[in-house]
């Protein structure tokens, strides 16, 4: 009996979130004295390296094809391997799979898990983020099969030099989607907001789209993604997909930098999973300072270039 982790890939490597999910499963497996098996949605150059994060086995499809019946493949894996827990890392693709598998297997499904698993006896206790990060709910799992979708940055992986045992499997033939894709357009900007370790966001205090070079230059220096507040995307200063907040993108970087954003409760809801928050605002009464770790009261048109120059030489 083991815990199954289903992970995504990007450019022939594991996605960073794959390591988060395997580390979460390894922590749970240790507490339950079980083992971890990983199934890879795609192709990776060195699948065995997932063993470093605590997975004993890794299943790789012999000819990866996302048009095959992935739901059926995983459902069969769950019954053959006597899986009681399946772990996914939050993403549109993983949440869709998790939901579909939970219907097929009549299992319990929990999304937005935001803390390491705990046990009471042999019963798993989880914590989920609700009200867009403004609250949490703690639940006990009582289903024979539980499907867990976790948010990122929950725990630090315990790394080892162990390698996972690789097993090549065949994808199941079954139902194929009737949806027809007419092509994908990638947004500009290299770093995804949801994946970024650092995010630099601007608000109305930026005064206009023509001043965004200040945000972009700082982001470039830090290898950060760029975001904005809702008024900024509503005024079309920046594209909608950069809108960070309760009804926009929710981010969880190590550092969130907010320049000229007052910190309305709806904006805070989108950034409250950040580890550290730096607020730059000329108004010392801006509510954002109450939610921040570092604050600079000053004119962002002076602070941003100065900070950028210092960081460049740091």
């Amino acid at each position: 009996m083991s815990i199954l982790v289903v992970v995504e890939t990007q450019d022939n490597e594991y996605k960073k979130s794959a390591y988060d999910a395997v580390a979460y499963a390894a922590d749970l497996a240790k507490k339950l004295s079980k083992s971890v098996t990983t199934f890879v949605l795609g192709e990776v150059a060195n699948p065995e390296t997932i063993g470093n994060y605590g997975s004993e086995k890794v299943f790789i499809a012999e000819n990866w094809d996302e048009k095959k019946d992935i739901v059926l493949t995983i459902t069969q894996m769950i019954s053959e391997e006597k899986i009681e827990t399946v772990v996914f890392a939050k993403s549109p693709v993983s949440e869709t799979l998790a939901a579909r598998i939970s219907v097929k297997t009549q299992s319990y499904l929990a999304t937005n898990i935001c803390s390491i698993p705990e046990l009471s006896g042999s019963i798993i206790k989880i914590k989920k983020s609700i009200y867009t990060g403004k609250g949490f709910i703690v639940e006990e799992l009582h289903s024979g099969l539980n499907i867990l979708v976790i948010k990122k940055n929950i725990l630090q992986a315990q790394l080892s030099d162990k390698l996972a045992q690789k097993q090549v499997i065949k994808l199941a033939e079954g139902k194929t989607s009737k949806l027809v894709s007419k092509g994908i357009t990638k947004a500009t900007g290299d770093i995804l907001l949801t994946d970024a370790q650092i995010v630099v966001s601007g608000g109305r205090g930026m005064k206009g789209p023509e001043n965004w070079a200040l945000i972009e230059d700082l982001a470039k220096t830090l290898g950060a993604a760029t975001g904005c507040s809702k008024p900024v995307s509503d005024m079309d200063w920046r594209p909608h997909h950069e809108h960070v907040g309760q009804t926009g993108v929710k981010v969880a970087p190590t550092l969130y930098i907010a320049a000229g954003i007052s910190g309305a409760i709806q904006h805070l809801a989108g950034v409250n999973s950040s580890k550290f928050i730096l607020v730059i605002n000329k108004d010392p009464e801006a509510p954002f300072f109450k939610a921040a770790d570092y604050g600079v009261v000053g004119d962002l048109f002076e602070v941003l270039p100065k900070l950028n120059a210092l960081l460049k030489s740091a």
């Binding site: 609700i130 989607s177 994908i184 570092y294």
Partner: protein
């Protein structure tokens, strides 16, 4: 076209979230409840489709107790034709999806629309669950929807970009901005919302695989370190050695 729009009854986005009775219950005192913002985009789009085609009917559904009826009446005022309330707390995503899919099975619909997620429990999976239970396709989250003949053309948000998708009915769609402009209820809409049908139905039983132990609120930040703008070197030092984000 017969469209079902599923709406949530959720605290306004500006609400402060607290819990009472030893952290076992949401504190609704002083909280204003609204139609979920993403669900309101779904409702607005349904109205656009019906009004453009000149035929069709919009049913709006909520899984909730009697206090959600004001929210359903608001949806009727905005322009839905009739309302259904499944009389139960929306206990879990699977519970809610089972109620919706059961209603769709017993009544024929061409299209089921809802928001990409609720803003209370943020599950973001009810649309996908409903589609799987009905053996329909689901597309989520969509930002644009056009109907050309019998084809639906959609723009879906994907990691770092957009995807154009084409599909036939029936479908379940999760909506987000800017799919349609929110509608302001007219005086006529408000008047007629009182007489439009609002039917209450019993939920069907669903086994729940979990038990809620408690609610919690986030720990407040320990305090903001203020840095003088003339001493940004100190900030760089903190980012480097405390936040450890520079390497």
């Amino acid at each position: 076209m017969k469209i079902l729009v599923c709406i949530t009854h959720v605290p306004d986005t500006t609400s402060k979230i607290t819990f009472i009775e030893n952290n076992s219950k949401f504190n609704s005192a002083g909280v204003q409840f609204i139609i979920g913002p993403y669900d309101e985009y779904a409702l607005s789009k349904a109205i656009d489709i019906r009004d453009k085609q000149g035929v069709g009917e919009i049913t709006v559904l909520n899984v909730g107790t009697s206090e959600t009826e004001n929210t359903l009446r608001k949806a009727l005022a905005i322009g839905a034709d009739k309302a259904v309330r499944v009389d139960s707390e929306p206990i879990s995503s699977i519970f809610t999806a089972t109620q919706i899919s059961n209603f769709v099975k017993n009544n024929s619909f061409d299209l089921v629309l809802m928001g990409r997620e609720s803003i209370d429990f943020n599950g973001g999976i009810v649309h996908t669950l409903v589609a799987e239970m009905l053996d329909w396709e689901c597309v989520n989250p969509i930002m644009k929807l056009d109907i050309v003949g019998d084809k639906l053309l959609m723009t879906k948000e994907v990691d770092g970009g957009k995807e154009e998708i084409e599909a036939n009915l029936p479908l379940v769609l999760g909506c987000q901005e800017p799919i349609a402009e929110w509608k302001i209820p007219s005086m006529k809409g408000i008047m007629s919302s009182r007489t439009k049908p609002l039917v209450v139905i019993d939920p069907i039983p669903v086994s729940i695989g979990s038990k809620v132990l408690a609610f919690e609120v986030p720990q407040p930040k320990s305090g903001c370190k203020m840095i003088d703008p003339s001493n940004l070197e100190q900030l760089v030092e903190l980012l480097k050695n405390e936040a450890k984000v520079l390497n």
